[in-house]
Symmetry: C2
Subunit: 342 residues, 2 copies
Amino acid sequence: MRNDLLLRAALGEPTDRVPVWMMRQAGRVLPQYRKIRAGVKDFKEFLAHPELTAEATLQPVSEWDVDAAIIFSDILVIPEAMGFPFEMVENTGPIFTKKINTINDIKALNIVSDETFINPTLETIRLVKKEITGQLPLIGFCGAPWTIFAYMLEGKSGKDFSRARRFLLDEPEAAQLLLEKITQSSIYYLKQQIKNGADIIQIFDTWAGILGYSLFKQYSFPYLQKLFLAIAEMEVPIIIFLRGCPYGIRSLSLLPKAVIGLDWMQIPAEARALAGPNLTLQGNLDPSLLYASEERIRSETLSMLKDFGSLHTIANLGHGLYPDIDKEKARIFVDTVKSFRF
Amino acid sequence: MRNDLLLRAALGEPTDRVPVWMMRQAGRVLPQYRKIRAGVKDFKEFLAHPELTAEATLQPVSEWDVDAAIIFSDILVIPEAMGFPFEMVENTGPIFTKKINTINDIKALNIVSDETFINPTLETIRLVKKEITGQLPLIGFCGAPWTIFAYMLEGKSGKDFSRARRFLLDEPEAAQLLLEKITQSSIYYLKQQIKNGADIIQIFDTWAGILGYSLFKQYSFPYLQKLFLAIAEMEVPIIIFLRGCPYGIRSLSLLPKAVIGLDWMQIPAEARALAGPNLTLQGNLDPSLLYASEERIRSETLSMLKDFGSLHTIANLGHGLYPDIDKEKARIFVDTVKSFRF
């Protein structure tokens, strides 16, 4: 592979420079994405067209020359494939059309075990691989079991997901069944992604941080661990992104060769102390700093790189690019990382 | 004072047992609150009736025999008093009726310097003090400058407050002017609360955690510090509550005798390491654990108390009571703390 910096950094091998990509690099920040997106009815229609999602996947590579492509998809592909569909409402986010009230609603859901509903993602991977094989790594992804569970129980995005957290305690048996079904579905999904060409995986536990330590240990970590260990057999690196969850960093450090994706609220030195010396960390510039002046973006990026150190580091933002960020500001971030040498 | 446990723990003095109160203890969890609330048109109408807010303030003391009362009010009293009114929309939250776009919108706002708009809060304090003077401490409060700023810029509650964060970087001069006006208004407001009888203050920086370290240092901490130091002159203890902001704990430890209120994502031992040995910590049971069984609430509460240790500790939840929590479950939490001895 012409540029395997990301894979080598993920495995803890030394690299000439720190590799860089950006969460949500494919999408609304790019005018060329907004153009192809405008040609279809809505977001879900867009996801159903692999030739479009493949193009969206490649756009940030052409635009910024980042060190990896990440498939254009959505973490809610899995609940939908389980029989729990969503609508994407403009300016609101996803809304599920069914509701989970009892264990029977969960028993009615499938474990994903064939390609019917995930084929658009897999076809996207196949199309993208035709373009970048031998060039750059392709990142596959899914949501963590708890995060998917949180969306499904809440029925939409939320701030506290207190309905989802309440369900864990009111209906522990039902909650475990759903978490298990999501985990099994995600194992199948990621394995198919890897078989079709994904070189590295990221698992998003975006809502880990609203669980306190006690509920995280019980309802997030065991399923993350199961998913991680099943996928680790395929011998691709796995990044686990956590938001707002310092105790999670310590738990993840128990997983052999995990890469830990940090949100922007973590201070690199403190995350390193929690993770121990051997794991690779990915992160974590505050995405809102891309609203700042060129000079500030450069100095904040350099300061972040120095805080992380040269080894075991992948540069990224601490959360996805906000859609109203200027793509030239994102370029300053990428270029600053790429031109920096320790 | 018959029960000054909270004040003594806040000052770092030894106490026979750990004092306990609950954020949002006055409000929808209690049927007796829902009853008096039903007698008026809406939440804002309720706030305008000090005889009702005083009653709501005292209800949790009668119900659970907690170690302090906290005035029933809202942090958005300050923006309203500055000339930036809000409506409270049922099931949605606050919506501001004006919008801040430029520095001129900020120049048009007042610094609160008379009692006109804050009088209902002050009258609530006077009424409550008639009942509990010599009995229990009364907690006054306000929002932290950054948190109030975040609501004002966003126009409502949010998840990421990315408009507010963008404004910090796009319009730093305007942002500083607004933060300064909020700070000055809050200093006046808290001083009047104390003069009218508040025995201890809590400042809520609920949205500190969506600022990364760099923006927190620049736009939250300096204003928190200014507010803290101005109020500390009045010689009452001051609790500063932070959500999702571990670097904030370290910053606050620089403030002499501050009490740090912890959210439920902080592990007590790690918070203690960040805060140093001398400050009192308040926290931090995951409020969703009050959906659990009696047995689990007891064991989680005991485990939290042991993690905090006997000195420099105030027991609380890590966030406000959720409105659908059973008041008997809250009682188990309070009683478990009150009967525990190290």
